[in-house]
Protein backbone atom coordinates (compact mmCIF):
# COMPACT_ATOMS: atom_id res chain seq x y z
CA UNK A 1 0.00 0.00 0.00
CA UNK A 2 1.14 3.50 -0.80
CA UNK A 3 0.33 6.19 1.73
CA UNK A 4 1.15 9.83 2.28
CA UNK A 5 3.31 8.95 5.27
CA UNK A 6 5.71 6.82 3.31
CA UNK A 7 9.20 8.22 2.95
CA UNK A 8 10.89 8.51 -0.41
CA UNK A 9 13.02 5.53 0.51
CA UNK A 10 9.89 3.49 1.23
CA UNK A 11 8.47 4.50 -2.14
CA UNK A 12 11.66 3.55 -3.96
CA UNK A 13 11.65 0.20 -2.18
CA UNK A 14 8.08 -0.30 -3.42
CA UNK A 15 9.15 0.70 -6.94
CA UNK A 16 11.81 -2.00 -6.76
CA UNK A 17 8.89 -4.39 -6.29
CA UNK A 18 7.32 -2.92 -9.47
CA UNK A 19 4.63 -0.92 -7.67
CA UNK A 20 3.56 1.68 -10.23
CA UNK A 21 1.49 3.57 -7.64
CA UNK A 22 4.66 4.19 -5.64
CA UNK A 23 6.28 5.70 -8.73
CA UNK A 24 3.21 7.86 -9.23
CA UNK A 25 3.42 9.02 -5.62
CA UNK A 26 7.12 9.78 -5.94
CA UNK A 27 6.40 11.76 -9.11
CA UNK A 28 3.60 13.72 -7.42
CA UNK A 29 5.90 14.54 -4.54
CA UNK A 30 8.84 15.80 -6.60
CA UNK A 31 7.37 16.82 -9.93
CA UNK A 32 7.59 20.57 -9.28
CA UNK A 33 11.24 20.52 -8.20
CA UNK A 34 12.16 18.09 -10.97
CA UNK A 35 10.40 20.13 -13.63
CA UNK A 36 11.64 23.45 -12.30
CA UNK A 37 15.22 22.18 -12.39
CA UNK A 38 14.86 20.77 -15.91
CA UNK A 39 13.22 23.99 -17.10
CA UNK A 40 15.95 26.13 -15.57
CA UNK A 41 18.57 24.10 -17.43
CA UNK A 42 16.81 23.64 -20.74
CA UNK A 43 14.68 26.76 -21.09
CA UNK A 44 12.04 24.89 -23.09
CA UNK A 45 8.90 23.53 -21.40
CA UNK A 46 8.65 20.71 -23.95
CA UNK A 47 12.26 19.61 -23.46
CA UNK A 48 11.90 19.94 -19.70
CA UNK A 49 8.84 17.66 -19.67
CA UNK A 50 10.64 15.14 -21.89
CA UNK A 51 13.57 15.08 -19.47
CA UNK A 52 11.36 14.69 -16.40
CA UNK A 53 9.50 11.82 -18.05
CA UNK A 54 12.77 10.14 -19.04
CA UNK A 55 14.16 10.66 -15.56
CA UNK A 56 11.21 9.06 -13.80
CA UNK A 57 11.28 6.19 -16.29
CA UNK A 58 14.94 5.81 -15.34
CA UNK A 59 13.94 5.75 -11.70
CA UNK A 60 11.40 3.05 -12.52
CA UNK A 61 13.92 0.95 -14.45
CA UNK A 62 16.90 1.48 -12.17
CA UNK A 63 15.30 1.63 -8.73
CA UNK A 64 17.41 -1.37 -7.72
CA UNK A 65 20.56 0.77 -8.05
CA UNK A 66 19.40 3.29 -5.43
CA UNK A 67 21.61 3.29 -2.34
CA UNK A 68 19.75 4.65 0.65
CA UNK A 69 23.01 4.88 2.60
CA UNK A 70 24.46 7.31 0.06
CA UNK A 71 21.68 9.77 -0.66
CA UNK A 72 18.07 10.63 0.02
CA UNK A 73 15.39 9.60 -2.41
CA UNK A 74 14.79 13.21 -3.39
CA UNK A 75 18.48 13.83 -4.07
CA UNK A 76 18.67 10.70 -6.16
CA UNK A 77 15.64 11.63 -8.25
CA UNK A 78 16.90 15.17 -8.80
CA UNK A 79 20.37 13.96 -9.70
CA UNK A 80 18.81 11.72 -12.36
CA UNK A 81 16.86 14.71 -13.68
CA UNK A 82 20.04 16.82 -13.68
CA UNK A 83 22.05 14.16 -15.52
CA UNK A 84 19.38 13.77 -18.18
CA UNK A 85 19.03 17.52 -18.63
CA UNK A 86 22.80 17.92 -18.91
CA UNK A 87 22.94 15.16 -21.52
CA UNK A 88 20.24 16.91 -23.52
CA UNK A 89 21.95 20.28 -23.20
CA UNK A 90 25.30 18.95 -24.33
CA UNK A 91 23.70 17.29 -27.33
CA UNK A 92 22.28 20.59 -28.48
CA UNK A 93 24.06 22.59 -31.13
CA UNK A 94 23.58 25.82 -29.23
CA UNK A 95 22.72 26.73 -25.71
CA UNK A 96 19.59 28.62 -24.79
CA UNK A 97 19.82 31.81 -22.88
CA UNK A 98 19.00 31.69 -19.21
CA UNK A 99 15.33 31.16 -18.59
CA UNK A 100 13.31 34.27 -17.92
CA UNK A 101 10.94 32.93 -15.34
CA UNK A 102 8.43 35.70 -15.83
CA UNK A 103 7.80 34.76 -19.43
CA UNK A 104 4.37 33.26 -19.29
CA UNK A 105 5.21 30.31 -17.11
CA UNK A 106 2.76 29.13 -14.55
CA UNK A 107 4.13 29.11 -11.09
CA UNK A 108 3.28 26.09 -9.03
CA UNK A 109 -0.07 26.54 -7.45
CA UNK A 110 -1.22 23.09 -6.48
CA UNK A 111 1.41 22.13 -3.95
CA UNK A 112 0.41 21.61 -0.40
CA UNK A 113 0.45 25.06 1.21
CA UNK A 114 2.88 24.21 3.99
CA UNK A 115 5.15 22.30 1.68
CA UNK A 116 4.99 25.22 -0.69
CA UNK A 117 5.88 27.74 1.99
CA UNK A 118 8.71 25.57 3.29
CA UNK A 119 10.10 25.03 -0.21
CA UNK A 120 9.90 28.74 -0.98
CA UNK A 121 11.64 29.70 2.25
CA UNK A 122 14.35 27.13 1.65
CA UNK A 123 14.63 28.31 -1.93
CA UNK A 124 15.06 31.89 -0.73
CA UNK A 125 17.83 30.80 1.63
CA UNK A 126 19.62 28.86 -1.09
CA UNK A 127 19.35 31.83 -3.45
CA UNK A 128 20.55 34.09 -0.66
CA UNK A 129 23.56 31.87 -0.07
CA UNK A 130 24.35 31.84 -3.79
CA UNK A 131 24.05 35.62 -3.89
CA UNK A 132 26.45 35.89 -0.97
CA UNK A 133 29.22 34.13 -2.92
CA UNK A 134 31.84 36.25 -4.65
CA UNK A 135 30.67 36.93 -8.21
CA UNK A 136 33.27 34.72 -9.91
CA UNK A 137 32.40 31.76 -7.68
CA UNK A 138 28.67 32.22 -8.20
CA UNK A 139 29.21 32.47 -11.94
CA UNK A 140 31.14 29.20 -11.94
CA UNK A 141 28.33 27.38 -10.12
CA UNK A 142 25.76 28.91 -12.45
CA UNK A 143 27.63 27.85 -15.59
CA UNK A 144 28.38 24.35 -14.31
CA UNK A 145 25.22 23.30 -12.54
CA UNK A 146 22.48 25.40 -14.10
CA UNK A 147 23.79 25.74 -17.63
CA UNK A 148 25.54 22.43 -18.15
CA UNK A 149 29.04 23.67 -19.05
CA UNK A 150 31.94 21.32 -18.49
CA UNK A 151 34.88 22.70 -16.55
CA UNK A 152 36.88 22.99 -19.78
CA UNK A 153 34.06 24.96 -21.43
CA UNK A 154 33.91 27.26 -18.41
CA UNK A 155 37.65 27.90 -18.65
CA UNK A 156 37.27 28.73 -22.32
CA UNK A 157 34.13 30.83 -21.80
CA UNK A 158 35.70 32.89 -19.02
CA UNK A 159 39.18 32.78 -20.55
CA UNK A 160 40.83 31.58 -17.36
CA UNK A 161 43.05 28.55 -16.63
CA UNK A 162 41.34 25.20 -16.04
CA UNK A 163 43.00 24.92 -12.66
CA UNK A 164 41.36 28.17 -11.59
CA UNK A 165 37.95 26.83 -12.56
CA UNK A 166 38.51 23.67 -10.54
CA UNK A 167 39.58 25.67 -7.53
CA UNK A 168 36.64 28.06 -7.79
CA UNK A 169 34.10 25.24 -7.92
CA UNK A 170 35.53 23.54 -4.86
CA UNK A 171 35.85 26.72 -2.85
CA UNK A 172 32.42 27.93 -3.90
CA UNK A 173 30.79 24.69 -2.72
CA UNK A 174 32.67 24.74 0.56
CA UNK A 175 31.62 28.32 1.14
CA UNK A 176 28.03 27.56 0.19
CA UNK A 177 28.05 24.78 2.73
CA UNK A 178 29.05 27.16 5.49
CA UNK A 179 26.49 29.75 4.40
CA UNK A 180 23.68 27.19 4.22
CA UNK A 181 24.55 25.69 7.56
CA UNK A 182 24.41 29.20 8.98
CA UNK A 183 20.97 29.77 7.48
CA UNK A 184 19.57 26.52 8.84
CA UNK A 185 18.94 24.92 5.47
CA UNK A 186 18.59 21.20 5.98
CA UNK A 187 21.61 19.63 4.29
CA UNK A 188 21.41 16.16 5.72
CA UNK A 189 19.76 13.28 3.90
CA UNK A 190 16.23 12.33 4.85
Amino acid sequence: MVSDEQSDNDLIAAIQRRDARALEKLYDRHRVLAYSLALRLLGSPGDAEDVVQEAFLNVWRAAHTFRADRSSGRSWVLSVVHHRAIDKLRNRQSRPQSVALEEGMNRADSMDVWQDVAARLTGQMVRGALDALPREQRETIELAYFRGYTQSQIAEHLDIPLGTVKGRMRIALQKLKLLLEGSQVELSTE
Binding site: S36, L57, G123
Partner: protein, 254 residues
Protein backbone atom coordinates in the same frame (compact mmCIF):
# COMPACT_ATOMS: atom_id res chain seq x y z
CA UNK B 1 47.20 13.25 -18.53
CA UNK B 2 45.73 13.12 -15.07
CA UNK B 3 47.66 11.72 -12.20
CA UNK B 4 46.04 10.53 -9.01
CA UNK B 5 47.29 13.69 -7.34
CA UNK B 6 45.44 16.07 -9.63
CA UNK B 7 42.34 13.85 -9.65
CA UNK B 8 41.68 15.30 -6.17
CA UNK B 9 41.02 18.66 -7.82
CA UNK B 10 38.11 17.23 -9.78
CA UNK B 11 35.86 16.87 -6.73
CA UNK B 12 33.92 20.12 -7.22
CA UNK B 13 33.41 19.58 -10.93
CA UNK B 14 32.37 15.98 -10.30
CA UNK B 15 29.53 16.80 -7.92
CA UNK B 16 28.39 19.66 -10.18
CA UNK B 17 28.24 17.37 -13.24
CA UNK B 18 30.89 19.52 -14.92
CA UNK B 19 33.25 16.77 -16.04
CA UNK B 20 33.31 15.36 -19.54
CA UNK B 21 32.43 11.68 -19.80
CA UNK B 22 36.11 10.71 -20.01
CA UNK B 23 37.05 12.86 -17.05
CA UNK B 24 34.17 11.50 -15.02
CA UNK B 25 35.12 7.88 -15.67
CA UNK B 26 38.75 8.60 -14.76
CA UNK B 27 37.68 10.34 -11.57
CA UNK B 28 35.31 7.53 -10.60
CA UNK B 29 38.18 5.06 -10.96
CA UNK B 30 40.24 7.24 -8.64
CA UNK B 31 37.30 7.77 -6.28
CA UNK B 32 36.82 4.05 -5.76
CA UNK B 33 40.16 3.87 -3.96
CA UNK B 34 40.46 7.31 -2.36
CA UNK B 35 38.80 7.72 1.01
CA UNK B 36 39.61 11.43 1.22
CA UNK B 37 37.81 12.11 -2.06
CA UNK B 38 34.88 9.90 -1.05
CA UNK B 39 34.45 11.96 2.10
CA UNK B 40 34.68 15.26 0.23
CA UNK B 41 32.27 14.11 -2.48
CA UNK B 42 29.74 13.10 0.17
CA UNK B 43 30.19 16.44 1.93
CA UNK B 44 29.85 18.62 -1.17
CA UNK B 45 27.09 16.49 -2.67
CA UNK B 46 24.85 17.57 0.21
CA UNK B 47 25.32 21.15 -0.92
CA UNK B 48 24.63 20.33 -4.57
CA UNK B 49 21.49 18.46 -3.51
CA UNK B 50 19.82 21.67 -2.35
CA UNK B 51 20.73 23.72 -5.44
CA UNK B 52 17.50 22.73 -7.26
CA UNK B 53 15.62 24.58 -4.52
CA UNK B 54 17.08 27.82 -5.89
CA UNK B 55 14.93 27.41 -9.01
CA UNK B 56 11.60 29.19 -9.05
CA UNK B 57 8.87 26.59 -8.67
CA UNK B 58 7.01 25.86 -11.90
CA UNK B 59 4.27 23.25 -12.19
CA UNK B 60 4.52 20.83 -15.15
CA UNK B 61 1.41 20.24 -17.24
CA UNK B 62 -1.02 17.61 -15.90
CA UNK B 63 -0.53 15.72 -19.17
CA UNK B 64 3.04 14.88 -18.18
CA UNK B 65 1.80 12.70 -15.35
CA UNK B 66 -0.54 10.86 -17.73
CA UNK B 67 2.23 10.29 -20.25
CA UNK B 68 4.63 9.02 -17.61
CA UNK B 69 2.13 6.58 -16.16
CA UNK B 70 1.12 5.39 -19.63
CA UNK B 71 4.77 4.70 -20.39
CA UNK B 72 5.16 2.82 -17.11
CA UNK B 73 2.06 0.78 -17.83
CA UNK B 74 3.33 -0.01 -21.30
CA UNK B 75 6.60 -1.27 -19.85
CA UNK B 76 4.73 -3.41 -17.37
CA UNK B 77 2.62 -4.85 -20.16
CA UNK B 78 5.65 -5.57 -22.30
CA UNK B 79 7.15 -7.62 -19.53
CA UNK B 80 3.94 -9.46 -18.69
CA UNK B 81 2.94 -12.69 -20.43
CA UNK B 82 1.19 -11.43 -23.51
CA UNK B 83 -1.46 -13.81 -24.71
CA UNK B 84 -2.92 -17.05 -23.59
CA UNK B 85 -1.69 -19.62 -26.01
CA UNK B 86 -3.77 -22.67 -26.88
CA UNK B 87 -4.05 -24.81 -23.83
CA UNK B 88 -4.69 -21.77 -21.73
CA UNK B 89 -2.18 -19.91 -19.60
CA UNK B 90 -3.32 -17.61 -16.88
CA UNK B 91 -3.30 -14.03 -18.02
CA UNK B 92 -1.33 -11.50 -15.97
CA UNK B 93 -2.76 -9.74 -12.94
CA UNK B 94 -5.78 -12.00 -12.69
CA UNK B 95 -7.46 -10.82 -15.85
CA UNK B 96 -9.55 -13.11 -18.01
CA UNK B 97 -7.84 -15.48 -20.36
CA UNK B 98 -7.89 -14.82 -24.04
CA UNK B 99 -8.27 -18.01 -26.08
CA UNK B 100 -7.03 -17.42 -29.58
CA UNK B 101 -8.32 -19.69 -32.32
CA UNK B 102 -6.61 -23.04 -32.48
CA UNK B 103 -4.76 -21.98 -35.56
CA UNK B 104 -2.58 -19.70 -33.49
CA UNK B 105 0.22 -21.85 -32.22
CA UNK B 106 3.08 -21.16 -29.89
CA UNK B 107 5.13 -19.75 -32.76
CA UNK B 108 2.48 -17.16 -33.51
CA UNK B 109 2.23 -16.24 -29.87
CA UNK B 110 5.99 -15.77 -29.81
CA UNK B 111 5.77 -13.48 -32.81
CA UNK B 112 3.10 -11.51 -31.03
CA UNK B 113 5.30 -11.18 -27.99
CA UNK B 114 8.22 -9.93 -30.03
CA UNK B 115 6.42 -7.86 -32.61
CA UNK B 116 3.46 -6.49 -30.76
CA UNK B 117 4.72 -6.01 -27.29
CA UNK B 118 1.88 -3.78 -26.26
CA UNK B 119 -0.91 -5.97 -27.46
CA UNK B 120 -1.87 -7.69 -24.29
CA UNK B 121 -4.78 -9.44 -22.76
CA UNK B 122 -6.52 -6.17 -21.96
CA UNK B 123 -8.05 -6.75 -25.35
CA UNK B 124 -10.12 -9.56 -23.90
CA UNK B 125 -12.82 -7.41 -22.41
CA UNK B 126 -13.08 -5.19 -25.41
CA UNK B 127 -13.25 -8.14 -27.76
CA UNK B 128 -16.02 -9.74 -25.78
CA UNK B 129 -18.07 -6.64 -26.39
CA UNK B 130 -17.15 -6.16 -29.98
CA UNK B 131 -17.54 -9.05 -32.34
CA UNK B 132 -16.09 -7.23 -35.31
CA UNK B 133 -13.00 -6.47 -33.27
CA UNK B 134 -12.79 -10.18 -32.49
CA UNK B 135 -13.10 -11.01 -36.18
CA UNK B 136 -10.25 -8.64 -37.02
CA UNK B 137 -8.26 -10.02 -34.15
CA UNK B 138 -8.66 -13.53 -35.49
CA UNK B 139 -7.72 -12.40 -38.98
CA UNK B 140 -4.57 -10.77 -37.67
CA UNK B 141 -3.70 -13.82 -35.61
CA UNK B 142 -4.17 -16.07 -38.63
CA UNK B 143 -2.12 -13.75 -40.81
CA UNK B 144 0.73 -13.77 -38.32
CA UNK B 145 0.58 -17.53 -38.01
CA UNK B 146 0.84 -17.70 -41.79
CA UNK B 147 4.00 -15.58 -41.83
CA UNK B 148 2.81 -11.97 -42.04
CA UNK B 149 5.43 -9.22 -41.74
CA UNK B 150 5.08 -7.17 -38.56
CA UNK B 151 6.49 -3.62 -38.47
CA UNK B 152 6.62 -1.60 -35.29
CA UNK B 153 5.46 2.00 -35.84
CA UNK B 154 6.66 4.09 -32.91
CA UNK B 155 5.16 7.31 -31.60
CA UNK B 156 6.68 10.66 -32.43
CA UNK B 157 7.21 13.31 -29.78
CA UNK B 158 3.69 14.55 -30.56
CA UNK B 159 2.16 11.45 -29.04
CA UNK B 160 4.35 10.02 -26.29
CA UNK B 161 3.07 6.77 -24.86
CA UNK B 162 1.35 5.68 -28.06
CA UNK B 163 2.55 2.77 -30.18
CA UNK B 164 1.44 0.83 -33.22
CA UNK B 165 2.32 -1.97 -35.58
CA UNK B 166 1.45 -2.73 -39.20
CA UNK B 167 0.73 -6.38 -39.93
CA UNK B 168 1.17 -7.20 -43.61
CA UNK B 169 -0.25 -10.61 -44.53
CA UNK B 170 1.49 -12.62 -47.25
CA UNK B 171 0.40 -12.46 -50.90
CA UNK B 172 -0.07 -8.68 -50.81
CA UNK B 173 -3.43 -8.87 -49.10
CA UNK B 174 -4.75 -5.80 -47.24
CA UNK B 175 -2.78 -4.92 -44.12
CA UNK B 176 -3.86 -4.17 -40.55
CA UNK B 177 -2.82 -1.41 -38.20
CA UNK B 178 -2.79 -2.20 -34.49
CA UNK B 179 -2.64 0.90 -32.38
CA UNK B 180 -2.65 1.71 -28.68
CA UNK B 181 -2.35 4.80 -26.53
CA UNK B 182 -3.56 7.46 -28.97
CA UNK B 183 -5.69 10.09 -27.34
CA UNK B 184 -9.05 10.98 -28.89
CA UNK B 185 -8.50 13.46 -31.71
CA UNK B 186 -9.82 16.99 -31.29
CA UNK B 187 -13.43 17.66 -32.26
CA UNK B 188 -14.09 17.04 -35.97
CA UNK B 189 -10.60 15.59 -36.41
CA UNK B 190 -9.54 12.04 -37.22
CA UNK B 191 -6.33 10.06 -37.44
CA UNK B 192 -5.25 9.31 -40.99
CA UNK B 193 -2.92 6.48 -42.02
CA UNK B 194 -0.33 7.01 -44.76
CA UNK B 195 1.98 4.70 -46.68
CA UNK B 196 5.06 6.18 -48.28
CA UNK B 197 7.45 4.80 -50.88
CA UNK B 198 10.84 6.49 -51.03
CA UNK B 199 10.48 10.19 -51.77
CA UNK B 200 7.07 9.84 -53.42
CA UNK B 201 4.03 11.63 -52.01
CA UNK B 202 2.38 9.86 -49.07
CA UNK B 203 -0.56 7.70 -50.12
CA UNK B 204 -3.72 8.15 -48.00
CA UNK B 205 -4.82 4.77 -46.67
CA UNK B 206 -7.72 5.21 -44.26
CA UNK B 207 -8.97 7.28 -41.35
CA UNK B 208 -9.93 6.10 -37.89
CA UNK B 209 -10.76 7.28 -34.39
CA UNK B 210 -9.26 5.67 -31.30
CA UNK B 211 -11.66 3.30 -29.56
CA UNK B 212 -10.66 3.84 -25.96
CA UNK B 213 -7.39 3.05 -24.29
CA UNK B 214 -7.21 -0.58 -25.32
CA UNK B 215 -5.29 -1.89 -28.34
CA UNK B 216 -7.35 -1.46 -31.48
CA UNK B 217 -7.18 -3.27 -34.81
CA UNK B 218 -7.74 -0.98 -37.80
CA UNK B 219 -8.26 -3.02 -41.00
CA UNK B 220 -6.65 -1.23 -43.91
CA UNK B 221 -8.13 -1.25 -47.41
CA UNK B 222 -4.82 -1.87 -49.15
CA UNK B 223 -1.57 -3.78 -48.90
CA UNK B 224 1.55 -2.19 -47.42
CA UNK B 225 3.73 -4.24 -49.77
CA UNK B 226 6.11 -2.09 -51.76
CA UNK B 227 5.94 0.83 -49.33
CA UNK B 228 8.84 1.78 -47.12
CA UNK B 229 7.22 3.88 -44.40
CA UNK B 230 3.94 4.11 -42.53
CA UNK B 231 2.75 7.17 -40.67
CA UNK B 232 -0.33 8.47 -38.89
CA UNK B 233 -1.29 12.15 -38.76
CA UNK B 234 -4.13 14.12 -37.21
CA UNK B 235 -6.37 15.63 -39.88
CA UNK B 236 -9.63 17.64 -40.07
CA UNK B 237 -11.38 14.76 -41.84
CA UNK B 238 -10.02 12.65 -44.69
CA UNK B 239 -7.47 14.56 -46.75
CA UNK B 240 -5.39 13.61 -49.80
CA UNK B 241 -2.10 15.01 -48.53
CA UNK B 242 -1.00 15.18 -44.89
CA UNK B 243 -1.40 18.54 -43.21
CA UNK B 244 -1.55 17.83 -39.49
CA UNK B 245 1.04 16.73 -36.92
CA UNK B 246 2.54 13.27 -37.33
CA UNK B 247 1.87 11.13 -34.27
CA UNK B 248 3.24 7.75 -35.39
CA UNK B 249 5.88 6.94 -38.00
CA UNK B 250 8.19 4.06 -38.77
CA UNK B 251 9.74 1.91 -41.48
CA UNK B 252 7.83 -1.03 -42.94
CA UNK B 253 9.45 -4.44 -42.89
CA UNK B 254 9.68 -5.93 -46.36
Amino acid sequence: MNTDENEHDQVGAYVLDALSDEERLAFERHLAGCEACQAEVADLQRVVDVLPLACDAVEPSPALRDRLMAAIEAEQDERAPLVAIPGGRTAPRGRMRWRLPEIVGIAAAAILVIGLGLWNVHLQQQINQDRSALAYQQQVAQAIAAGAAVSSIPATSKSPGASAAVVQPRNRRPAYLIVQGLKPAAARHVYEVWFIRGHAKPVPVTVFSPAGSEPQVVPLPMSASGYTLAAVTVEPGRVQAPTGPMVLAGPLTA
